[in-house]
């Protein structure tokens, strides 16, 4: 291994250690890890890891905003699943994945057959699917007499309602997607960097694309409960953007993004426990954005501060 890479790995280890210290620190400050908080914090951290892994690819492939479309497009699926199967969690997740995935396909189809650009297609699908979901939801509320609260749980998430089983599902998803990335590492990397070359070498590009999109669907659908539809895209992008500033290797970026994601998720949960009524999802986003800000400013070599210092030095030299 090269000294430069070793230095970055050491930095990553240090960052991980510092972030892990947050847990004992919060205990010392009087945060009580009861059943709910433990679940929310663990769930948030696991979701952060998932976001770090898949978000890195989304950001590098210039598909950052497809996550926003996907999370909104999940609403009709959730409502239909609720209508058919009630509060069965697995059914709700499958429903969300179904219409979310459908939304992504529709975006691709629109871009492929019309003059519309990706942003227009994404925006149309996002808001149309969402509207269909709201219409369906209001239909149910008018008939079944379900509580009015359904929509804002979808939009803002409902972190406090997370139970052990949800944490287990998130953990399983982490293992699954981690294994997927490990197995197809070279292929995903080449596909992300240079799709033309990947195809020329003979990789099954369409199938690999579908795998990556599928992973994204899984992550976003699982994240809806914690972060909500609107903020999900932020949690997907922020850890990857922050991690990009620290390294010049994809593997390091993914590891660091997962760490940042875990920290944002966990810290957001803990912060929301400090005071009654503080929302979890938004706090996760705020923490994640703070990490981005710190990274953009202070990350060694790429950060603005170092760039400024280098400029200053160059000016003085000349």
């Amino acid at each position: 291994m090269l000294p430069e890479d070793r230095r970055v790995w050491r930095q990553i280890a240090l960052i991980g250690l510092l972030m892990a210290l947050g847990a004992p620190l919060s205990m010392a400050l009087g945060v009580r890890y009861d059943y709910t908080l433990t679940n929310v914090a663990l769930g948030g951290a696991l979701l952060g890891v998932l976001c770090g892994m898949t978000g890195s690819f989304a950001v590098l492939r210039s598909q950052s905003l497809i996550g926003d479309t996907l999370s909104h497009a999940a609403l009709p699926g959730v409502v239909i699943a609720f209508l058919l199967f009630g509060r069965e969690a697995v059914a709700l997740l499958l429903g969300a994945a179904l219409t979310g995935g459908l939304g992504v396909l529709l975006v691709n189809w629109l871009v492929g057959t019309t003059r519309l650009k990706p942003d227009g297609a994404m925006s149309i699908v996002l808001v149309s699917f969402f509207a269909v979901g709201v219409a369906l939801l209001s239909y149910i509320q008018g008939r079944v007499g379900a509580s009015q609260a359904g929509l804002d749980k979808f939009i803002f998430g409902q972190a406090a309602a997370i139970i052990e089983r949800d944490v287990a599902i998130l953990g399983a998803a982490c293992l699954l997607i981690g294994a997927l990335l490990y197995a197809f590492w070279k292929a995903f990397k080449l596909l992300t960097f240079d799709p033309d070359f990947a195809r020329a070498v003979g990789l099954p590009v369409a199938r690999l694309n579908a795998l990556l999109s599928g992973a994204l669907v899984v992550v976003i659908v699982l994240g809806l409960q914690l972060a909500g539809a609107i903020l999900m895209v932020g949690l997907l992008i922020a850890p990857a953007v922050a991690a990009r500033q620290w390294t010049r290797r994809l593997e390091q970026m993914i590891v660091l993004a997962s760490l940042f994601g875990a920290f944002s998720g966990g810290a957001g949960a803990v912060l929301s426990a400090l005071e009654r009524g503080l929302p979890t999802g938004p706090l996760m986003i705020v923490v994640a954005c703070a990490v981005v800000l710190v990274s953009i400013l202070f990350a060694p070599q790429r950060g603005m501060l170092w760039r400024l210092l280098r400029q200053r030095a160059a000016e003085e030299a000349s």
């Binding site: 926003d68 519309l116 149309i124 999802g281």
Partner: protein
């Protein structure tokens, strides 16, 4: 706003009676359709440029960040001791600032070249939205800011949120103790203090006037203090701001049509002409933010995006001409608003969601059937072209090989399909069509071009090279 509302009513009173106006503005259906139509027109006008400039996702971001501006201004007004209301200037400034701020911040981050611009956008608006949610839950616990309605709007009850304006018998009524309408009552002065019953002989009484004071004409009528009601006209609160922003957007598009057109297609050339494309695009974004605020009450932060983007996108599928897009988009948008409202009433579902669903259905229909860019016409055209194309290909192949040594094998009737990598069936069908058109002939197992066929190939190839 209030002054403009009054002017509008005074104008309308020239044509209608106050009763007619109240009947109209008190009709949920009429008001919802009117408001829906205004939202549709105001947004569609901005939407055309937004879609052309690839700002569709930016609108999505703006509509979310505008919430942050509103919440921040709301809190600022509370701190200043003012009563917040959606048309207060500070709120509008906050909203416009947040909308433009989103774009500026995104550009700033992207310009550092450390973050791609789509990722930057995806960071900025969730951050601002998260801040807004935190501010609301932390600092506005008592004020009921219903997030459901902020996100999807309440166009169905727009008629009920009304301002009243008085036009006759508006004098306030002051009642004094000697007025015949004054109602006199007695109260015990020392009962509470001494803990005795009013029936007690020790109780001391005074007489006072229970309805003295000054009342507005409306209150006076409610209390039956005046014989005839004042002449009041109620105007839905959302109406005038929406009408104003629609007017403003229309003026903007009309006045800066050619500048906007050029700046959308070729920003560099526009800059060279001194049109200040950056300035124009910020003006556009300010209008978008203001339109989003004005439409919030009616259709909410998320669904308003649909009104901006979908009609313009549908118009884009129907025509290549910019001015036609400006006609088509509002028409589509208004008709979707009307049909969505009727569907929502019939099915008893959310009105704004039904309007957007109708808009989406309209879009899908246009995508399917559009004359040139529709799926169906593309399918038909592709089928026709494929046949024509195969014919041209075959003719070209024959032409290329006709006087070469390998012509014998390249144009043999039985092996021709191998050279083209076609199935023999396809080749045979194509040959049959060509023969029917007298472009090829068969001679001793060889396919030969006729003179007409040769001329056609030559003309076609010249066309290709020139194109």
């Amino acid at each position: 706003m209030s002054g403009i509302e009054r002017l509008l009513i005074e104008f309308l009173l020239n044509f209608f009676t106050a009763e007619q106006l109240n009947a109209f503005f008190g009709d949920p259906r009429a008001v919802a359709l009117l408001i829906g139509a205004l939202v549709a027109v105001a947004t569609a006008l901005c939407g055309v440029f937004l879609v052309l400039r690839k700002l569709a996702m930016t609108v999505d971001a703006i509509s979310h960040s505008v919430l942050f501006g509103i919440v921040a201004a709301f809190l600022a007004m509370l701190a200043l001791g003012q009563t917040p209301d959606l048309s207060a200037p500070l709120l509008l400034i906050g909203a416009a600032g947040a909308g433009v701020g989103t774009v500026v911040l995104t550009e700033l981050i992207a310009r550092s070249r450390l973050v791609k611009s789509d990722a930057a956008l995806g960071l900025v608006f969730p951050f601002l939205f998260a801040l807004a949610v935190i501010l609301v839950t932390r600092y506005v616990p008592n004020v009921h800011l219903d997030m459901d309605s902020v996100l999807v709007g309440e166009i169905g009850v727009a008629w009920a949120n009304a301002n009243s304006h008085c036009f006759a018998r508006c004098e306030p009524v002051t009642i004094t103790a000697d007025d015949p309408r004054a109602e006199m009552a007695r109260r015990c002065l020392n009962c509470a203090a001494e803990g005795i019953s009013p029936r007690s002989p020790r109780a001391v009484f005074e007489t006072y006037c229970s309805n003295c004071g000054t009342f507005s004409a409306a209150e006076a009528w409610q209390r039956r203090l005046i014989a005839a009601p004042p002449e009041l006209v109620f105007v839905p609160r959302a109406l005038v701001p929406l009408a104003l922003i629609a007017l403003l957007n229309a003026l903007f598009v009309l006045l800066f049509y050619k500048e906007l057109k050029l700046a959308s297609f070729d920003p560099d050339l526009a800059a060279a002409f001194g049109f200040r494309p950056a300035l124009l695009s910020y003006a556009l974004l300010i209008l978008v933010s203001l339109t989003a605020v004005a439409a919030f009450d009616a259709v909410g932060a998320v669904l308003v995006v649909a009104f901006f983007v979908i009609p313009a996108a549908a118009a884009y599928l129907l025509t290549h001409r910019l001015w036609q897009m400006f006609l088509i988009a509002p028409i589509l948008s208004v008709s979707a608003a009307i049909s969505g409202y009727e569907a929502a009433r019939a099915l008893d579902i959310s009105i704004s969601a039904a309007m957007v669903t109708a808009l989406f259905a309209l879009f899908l229909l246009i995508w399917l059937l559009a004359p040139r860019q529709g799926l169906l016409s593309a399918l038909i055209r592709r089928r026709r072209q494929r046949l024509l194309f195969a014919e041209q290909l075959l003719l070209g192949h024959l032409y290329n090989h006709q006087h070469t040594p390998e012509a014998e094998s390249e144009s043999a009737q039985v092996t021709l399909h191998e050279h083209l990598s076609w199935t023999s069936g396809k080749t045979a069908r194509c040959l049959a069509r060509l023969r029917a058109k007298r472009l090829v002939t068969f001679e001793a197992g060889q396919v030969r071009l006729t003179e007409r066929g040769e001329a056609l190939v030559r003309a076609f190839r010249e066309g290709l090279m020139a194109g």
